[in-house]
């Protein structure tokens, strides 16, 4: 078994042609239009290829063809199950279009996002899907202006200069609180932060609108702000809730995402607070671990796969259709009721 040394050149079509005793054009034909080559020579060429360990050079192919066969998704945080589900949806659409998907993880860093975008642009990928650290960053515009289709995923931009796919967070907030009102709760808290995140803001807005529509006094909807949407912050919020005197303590909590809700649930259980009898909990995202929690979590579900699939379709349209116009797609969330609110 001969392994190529580091740095050694690999076999090219020319080498294959020489080994098979045919011309270079024939080798190319074997690769791209096998039917135009007689079976005999084709076999000979194929054999030469395996013998030499020939691997087609994609750079050369792409340079010549002017087009690549890949799509990219720059993820905000690959360790959040929400985004990997979105990625699966993208992958499905990419596969259907016979493109392959590469994933890049910016890990919530604008500079990493930048360098991924730059490289992908240089690689002339067919399109870039991105959940950006800052959806209003001008660097996204530059990429788009230079000609690479860009679609914003799970975020929206203030201006509408991009295609984007997102879920209606205001509606989601409304659904969550309406559900709690239906269950008879009159003291409710919203837990989430930081407040400048669009999603945190929108979900609260929805919550408030449902609250007001039910004729409740606005200040009976408490807001507990966290510094991040993590399990640890959820636990911490649970501790703060527990510190409120029983008579005034909320009987239900709506959390800005499932991680926070899981942390809060954990705090409740470990301190002997019964869920949902003493406190009901609603999460957001409906990640897999929500249904699998010790007390299965009521949560606002987003169509994650669909989000990804649609984003991929938009970027492909932009890449291939001259008459493309930007669209902002907004999906509708759905409440999934489970034990954490149903007793």
């Amino acid at each position: 078994m001969s392994v190529r040394e580091p740095g050694a050149r690999s076999a090219s079509v020319k080498d294959v042609a020489a080994a098979a005793g045919v011309s270079l054009g024939t080798v190319s034909n074997v690769l791209n239009r096998p039917d135009r080559v007689s079976p005999g020579t084709r076999e000979r060429v194929l054999k030469a290829m395996t013998d030499l360990g020939f691997v087609r050079n994609e750079s050369a192919r792409q340079l010549r063809a002017g087009t690549s066969r890949t799509l990219a998704y720059v993820m905000l945080d690959a360790s959040n199950p929400f985004f990997t589900d979105v990625a699966d949806g993208i992958d499905a659409a990419a596969e259907a279009a016979d493109l392959s998907l590469v994933l890049c993880n910016s890990r919530d860093s604008a500079s990493r996002e930048q360098s991924h975008l730059a490289l992908l642009e240089q690689q002339r990928v067919q399109g870039i899907l991105v959940t950006p650290v800052d959806p209003d960053s001008p660097s996204l515009d530059e990429v788009a202006r230079r000609g690479t289709p860009v679609v914003v995923v799970d975020r929206t931009r203030a201006d509408q200069s991009f295609c984007s796919v997102a879920v209606d967070d205001v509606l989601g907030g409304r659904l969550a609180v309406e559900h709690l009102l239906d269950r008879g709760h009159t003291r409710v808290a919203y837990v989430g932060g930081p407040a400048h995140l669009g999603q945190v803001h929108d979900r609260l807005e929805g919550a408030r609108s449902a609250w007001a529509a039910a004729g409740h006094p606005e200040d009976a909807l408490a807001v507990i702000e966290t510094s991040a949407l993590t399990v640890a912050e959820g636990r911490e919020a649970g501790a703060r809730l527990a510190g409120i005197p029983t008579r005034r303590r909320p009987t239900a909590v709506f959390c800005a995402n499932d991680l926070v809700a899981l942390g809060l649930l954990q705090h409740a259980i470990s301190s002997g607070v019964r869920v949902p009898d003493e406190i009901a909990i609603v999460g957001y995202d409906d990640i897999e671990f929500a249904a699998a929690a010790a007390v299965p979590l009521t949560s606002v579900r987003q169509p994650r796969q669909l989000l990804g699939r649609t984003a991929a379709e938009l970027v492909l349209d932009e890449a291939t259709n001259v008459g493309h116009t930007h669209r902002q797609v907004l999906f509708t969330p759905e409440l999934v009721a489970r034990s954490s609110t149903l007793g």
Copy 2:
């Protein structure tokens, strides 16, 4: 704002040279050795670049240079937090070596794995890290033989024809059971499957060796086989456990991974079985959700980031060092004791 039409050619160095009124070589110098160009012309060239929306063509660069600046990790399952942590470790090492990392997700499908490998090979990536569906698949050998460095991650091969990094699963199994023995348990069950997975097998082997070393009768270590390492299967196993008469029912369970353990925990809590008083639970992997469970989970921790970092270092050594020899690195796991066994 002029956006390029789909299919339109983007500006090349030639266009930039023309616009700036310099030769093509000068543009290249601005790009690669800016110091060799007088400040005046450099500015002029830079301006032409932004005006034209010039983006360097990586295919051409790579074709000429013969080398790419990227590393790839073909993940088995991007939605398992374990693998995303490994990916973070790889990313750190890649960043340090000034390479960028692309992630591909085979989603446990051999054919998707194949096509990702093929494309990466054609793209002449510096190296491929892979957690394969089947570590003994010959297609990995072919990739390596043709010259792309390949390192196997979190798996080992029967022959030792690759570099690999993994964690000592036999030891991990031993640690888990020794911990349960220390806590005084004499009826223990191992839950995991399918049995043909190397990891499921090795962890059981370790469990048995610790069990035997303590002088316990071998058949007092029950084995409950699952068809996958998922939360749902864990719940199902919990139901099976509950069906065993109390006198013979295990007082402790060692699960082959955390997802199974979380499912089992969920079943226990929802059916009123106290953890750890009536049943103690040990998981494996120590994913973030383990510590965040309703009853924080005792688990066997693997050095996930280190696993990734080391794998990246090995593949880079193979890519650059002519004297490279294959190594199989085996890391040591560590037991993290929490409430699910500590009362």
